[in-house]
Each structure stands twice: as C-alpha cells, then as structure tokens.
C-alpha cells in the first residue's frame, strides 16, 4: 500500500476508532452508573478502566485523524475507478479466496456431525488446487499431499497428543 492510500486508510480508520471509543466510553459510563446505583464506590466499577482506555483511544484516533489530514488524505480518494482498481487487484482476489475457503472450512465443513478427516482433506485439496494450474500432475500431487497431511494431522493430534478433534 503506497503512502497516499495508507493515509486515506488511516483517515477512515481514525473515524471508525473514534466511533468505537465513544461507544465503549458510553457503555463504560453505564457500567459505572450501575455500580454507583448499587451503592458501591465509583472506583470499584467494571467500567472505570475501559472508560479511561476508550478516552485514550479517542485521543490517539483524533491525533491519527489530524496526522492523516496534514499528510494530505481526503475523502475524494474514494472514486469509482479506485474501488474497481482495488477489487480487480490480485491481492484482493487472493484475500477473498483464502478467507472464503477458511470460512467454508470452519463454518460449513467442520459443523457438528461432520467428519474432521473428510473436512480437512476437502479443504486442503481445494485450497491447494485453487492457487495452481489444474493439470493432471498438480491434481495428483494435491490429492496425495492432502491425504498424507490429513492423516498426519489426525494421527498427531488425536493419537499422540490425545486431543479430541473438532
């Protein structure tokens, strides 16, 4: 990420962080209010330290906002062309693929009642094939490595370490 884009990202992040710090501050304030309502001292409250940290976060976010503005970051950066450029970049596609595969593995393949070995084999095989040319050699290699890796992981964790697998 080049510096101009980084500062624009900082500008957006600083606003998100300011919203977060304000939200946490109000939630902490409510916790403090509950403590005082119960007749306890304010310094016993579970909201005290989070409130202080949220204030510090707000100050830091504000500082980041001004730093990004000083470095020339503006919201005009978000043009249609820029968004298309990001979506069509190789890294964005890779990130979406890896995250999607991981989501499928965790949220679908490893649901209760599904076999861990089968889920891991399918995940590994698809993952390996997703990032290489689909020719016979690569398919055989991917299948073989997926089987071996699944067997080794399953044996290592369930038999040697005696960890019940998900």
């Amino acid at each position: 990420m080049d510096k101009t884009t980084l500062r624009v990202a900082d500008l957006v992040t600083s606003i998100i962080l300011m919203v977060l710090s304000v939200s946490v501050f109000f939630m902490s304030y409510r916790l403090m209010f509950t403590t005082i309502e119960r007749g306890r001292d304010w310094f016993q409250s579970a909201g005290l330290f989070p409130g202080i940290v949220s204030l510090l976060l707000g100050i830091c976010s504000l500082s980041l906002f001004f730093r990004a503005r000083k470095d020339g970051a503006t919201f005009k950066f978000f043009t249609r062309e820029k968004v298309v450029e990001v979506i069509e970049s190789r890294e964005f596609k890779v990130a979406v693929t890896v995250v999607s595969l991981l989501a499928v593995y965790i949220y679908i393949l490893m649901r209760p009642g599904r076999q861990f070995e089968v889920a891991t084999f399918i995940y590994l095989c698809i993952f390996m094939l997703a990032f290489q040319q689909k020719n016979i050699k690569n398919i055989i290699y991917s299948l073989g490595i997926s089987v071996l890796a699944t067997a080794a992981i399953t044996y290592g964790f369930s038999q040697l370490a005696m960890i019940p697998l998900p």
Binding site: Q44, F49, P50, L64, V98, V99, I106, L124, F157, P166
Partner: protein, 509 residues
C-alpha cells in the same frame, strides 16, 4: 556461594539417563511445537501438563521445562523461514530474521539464534540460581500500583517498538488489545462486560486462538498474494559462504550482555515475560547501535538481541513464579498450574515447604541448555528444508494447523471462530501497517491491568496518588511520561522533515 553449591548439588543429583533422554526428547518436541505456526510454548506446556498428570514430579518438570525452552527457541525458526513467529516472543526476531532468510542466510540465521538462545537460557539459569534472592526482595516490594504501571509500560513500549508506520498506530493497537481483554465477566464486580449476551465471551477472548489468527492468517494470504516468485530456498543455493556463528555472536558481545540483562530483568518482573523482553532488547539494541537505520533489513544483531533476551527471560520468569506465585509469562502461568497440580505450593514459603526445589528447577533449566544445543543442531537443517515445500502445499497445511491449534487449548468451537475473526481483522490491520504484537500484549495483560488498577484504588480509597508517590511505581510513571513525550517530539520532528522533503523545489523557471 550457598546458592551456587546447592545448585551444583541439585544438578549432579539430576544426572540420570532417564532424565537426560526425557529432556532431549522434550526439547526436540518443544522446538517442533515452537516452530509450527499455531502451536505455542504455552499450548505445548498446557497439553503436556494434562498428559503428565500421572508421571512423577521430577520427570514431569523435566518434560515441561524441556518443552518450554525448546518452544521459545523454536518460535524463531518459523519467524526466520516463514515470517510467522511460532511464538509471540519470536515476533521481534522476524523483523531481521526473515530479511536474512530472504538474503539466502536462513541456515546461518537459525544457527545464530540457536547459539543466542543457548547463551540466553544459560544466563537465565545463572540468574535464577544466584540472583533470585536479591531480585525477589525487589519483587516483594511490588503492589498493585507497580504491577499496573509495569504492565502499562509493557503495552506502551511494545506499541512504540512494534509500530510499522506511525508510533501512534502502535499505541492504538495496544489500546485495542486492552479493550479486547475487557470483553469478559469482570473479576471484581462480577459484571458481564461488553459480552452482548454471548455466554462464550464470559470467560474472555482466548489469547492463543486470537494470537494464531493475528499472526497466521495474514501470512497465509500474503504468501499467496506475492506476485514475484521469490523463493528463499532458491536463493540459499546461491549463497554458499563459510560462516563462523561463534564469531558472529561473540563479535556482538555488547548486544548479548545487554539483551541478557534486559531478558533476566524483564522476565523477573511479574506479568510481563518473554514477549516484552524480546521487544525491549531489540529496541535497546537498535537505539544503541551505529547501524540503527539498517535494523529490519537483516542484521544479525536484530536476531541475537531478542533471542538472547527471550530465552534469558525464562529463568527470570521462574523467579516470581516460584517465590511469589506470580507468573512472569504465559508459559510460566501454565507451569504454576502444573506445580499446584503436583502438590508444590509456590510462594515465599517454597524453600521451607519444598527445600531445594528452586535449585532443582534451575538444574533442569541448565540441562535443557545442553539438550537444546544437541537437539537444535540436529534439527537445524531438516527444519530449514520447510522452505523447499512449495507455498501452495505448505500454506494450506499451516492454515489447518492454525485452526486446530486454536481449537486444541480449550476444545471450544467458539475458538475456531476466534481464529477466523481475528485472522480477518489481523489481515486488515496488517495492510494498514498496524503491528499485531501490541494488540496481543494488550489482550494478555489487559485483565490483569484492570484488576490491579482497581485494587490499587480500592486499597487507597480512590486516590491516584500512590501510582506516583510509591517509589517503584513512581519510577515507572516517570519512564512512561518520558517515553510518551519523547515519541511525540520524535514523531513531530519526523513529520516536519518529511514535509520539507516533499516541498517541490522551485527551479526558477
């Protein structure tokens, strides 16, 4: 002198074939655990604590200490080879270790970190055996105010050092980590805090799954996103230099001694541990070096400093654990649980209730140094071959190990979601040049800081003054203020210089 003699006696008593073989096997296992991304020293010790429940006390701690030392060293291997620190304490090693690997010096870097780790552990042993009593006296002065200030300083310094772009982003990362640590059932009031009704969050966000997500998932994405077909192993074939690792390490003796002192000192302070020790040692080495601008590009000092410090911190971390029952690091926290499981009650009474136990632990640590030398020498080449495995086959396996590693510590399906969620967040934060180290440290220390902060206020009837007026706490307060002011001034100077450089030059046309 008495300490030294009892330590030597304990070491001689220990020399039994079974103990030696067990230690060799445990150190080897520890190196493998540390090197595999997603498997940490804490997790390895936790797993083996359960498995060794029926084993005798002597053998149990041989295994646990071996895994501890091996894993802290092993973390540097994946940090160097894959830029994924196997353990959080190896995160600083990755800064210069991975660039060294990219220059074709992977094997040399691994050998240097091995020797640095051995020196570090040895100095940690010496500290544990000889310096424990005076350091314990200092540690005994610690109250809630000092614990809080120390942890706050740890998060702050980690934010300053770990910042990849602006210092303020390092601090923001630390604060985000602290906020994440507050998501749990509060320890003092028993109030549910920021859990939004999710019962899985009542015990807090699990540190290890979060850490795995932060460190492993972004690396898997980045590995596939690389457009250049750069292969570390391929370059390694071209660089066939004869290097003397002893010369490399001993020619940087100042860095070694300085880092060992930082490691033992920070390790012996309760609640901080190897991670902060490694970062502080890296920062100290960088600031005191003539080549400070070259740090992060592949300097041997950059791998020696954190490795000496994180291994020296092991001995240091055992000091408060054994004498105060306050662990100096997350692995030491698990060891504390193991001690209690085996009927040893750590604390100021340990020398009366279990005489010679501190000497026994120090002897085990010394034996682990010798075994680390042997095991690491045998494993250096085979583990460095990891890079010969094409990324397209290696990284999916790393992803699976990370998911299972995240699940294994608590056997909770919720932790699988933690790995995923923190992986995605970690990737975006990495893209925006936020370091995961301060977030993880904030997450580890956050709850302890909150409890100590309020305990100090409750003890002092709501007065903030003891945070400044108590001597040790006051020193930490002064250091914190100095660090903040210095960083703000430095950042302003740097920003001003940058803007001057960017002003277009008028060529008088």
């Amino acid at each position: 002198m008495t300490n030294l003699l009892s330590f030597i006696n304990a070491f001689i008593d220990l020399l039994d074939v079974t103990v030696i073989l067990l230690m060799l096997g445990s150190v080897t296992l520890g190196i493998i655990i540390g090197a595999l991304p997603g498997l940490t020293a804490t997790m390895g010790i936790a797993l083996l604590t359960g498995l060794t429940y029926n084993v005798s006390l002597n053998y149990t701690f041989t295994i646990l200490m071996g895994v501890y030392v091996g894993a802290i060293y092993g973390g540097s291997i994946s940090a160097i080879l894959l830029n994924i620190p196997g353990t959080a304490s190896a995160a600083a090693t990755a800064l210069d270790g991975h660039p060294l690997a990219l220059q074709g010096k992977a094997v040399t870097a691994i050998k240097v970190t091995r020797f640095a780790s051995i020196i570090g552990t040895f100095i940690g042993v010496t500290a544990l055996a000889l310096l424990a009593p005076p350091l314990t006296k200092v540690a005994l002065q610690f109250r809630s105010t000092e614990f809080f200030m120390l942890a706050f300083f740890g998060v702050l310094i980690c934010g300053s050092i770990g910042a990849k772009d602006l210092t303020i982003k390092g601090w923001i990362a630390g604060m985000l980590g602290l906020l994440l640590a507050f998501v749990r059932l509060d320890d003092i009031e028993g109030a549910s805090r920021f859990t939004f009704g999710y019962t899985d969050l009542l015990s807090g966000i699990s540190i290890i799954p979060a850490m795995i997500g932060f460190y492993a998932v972004p690396e898997v994405i980045k590995a596939f996103a690389r457009t250049d077909k750069f292969s570390v192993a391929a370059i390694e074939e071209k660089v066939k230099e004869k290097v003397n690792i002893y010369k490399i390490v001993f020619s940087r003796l100042r860095v070694v001694i300085q880092s060992a002192l930082v490691g033992v000192g920070i390790g012996s302070l309760p609640g901080v541990g190897e991670d902060v020790a490694a970062w502080v040692a890296y920062d100290t080495a960088k600031k005191s070096s003539k080549n400070r601008d070259k740090y992060g590009t592949g300097l041997y000092e950059g791998v020696i400093a954190p490795e000496v410090a994180n291994n020296a911190a092991i001995g240091g971390a055992l000091i408060p654990m054994l004498t105060l029952a306050v662990p100096g690091s997350p692995p030491a926290a698990v060891l504390l649980g193991a001690l209690m499981l085996h009927g040893i009650r750590p604390g100021p009474m340990i020398n009366i209730e279990s005489p010679g136990f501190i000497g026994q632990m120090a002897s085990l640590l010394l034996l682990s140094v010798i075994m680390l030398w042997i095991a690491a020498t045998l494993l250096a080449k085979p583990i460095s071959k990891t890079l010969n495995v094409p990324i397209v086959y290696l990284m999916p396996i790393v992803a699976v190990l990370s998911v299972i590693g995240g699940y294994a510590i608590n056997l909770s399906s919720f932790d699988l979601f933690t790995v995923f969620a923190f992986g995605v967040i970690g990737y975006f934060l990495d893209k925006m040049h936020y370091s995961p180290a301060p977030i993880v440290l904030g997450l580890i220390l956050g709850n302890m800081m909150d409890v100590k902060f309020r305990t100090a206020l409750i003890t002092n009837n709501g007065s903030f003054l003891p945070f400044i007026t108590r001597p040790i706490s006051g020193i930490f307060f002064a250091i914190i203020i100095f660090t903040i002011v210095k960083q703000v001034i430095d950042s302003k100077k740097a920003a001003k210089e940058e803007r001057i450089e960017n002003i277009p030059v008028d060529k008088g046309e």
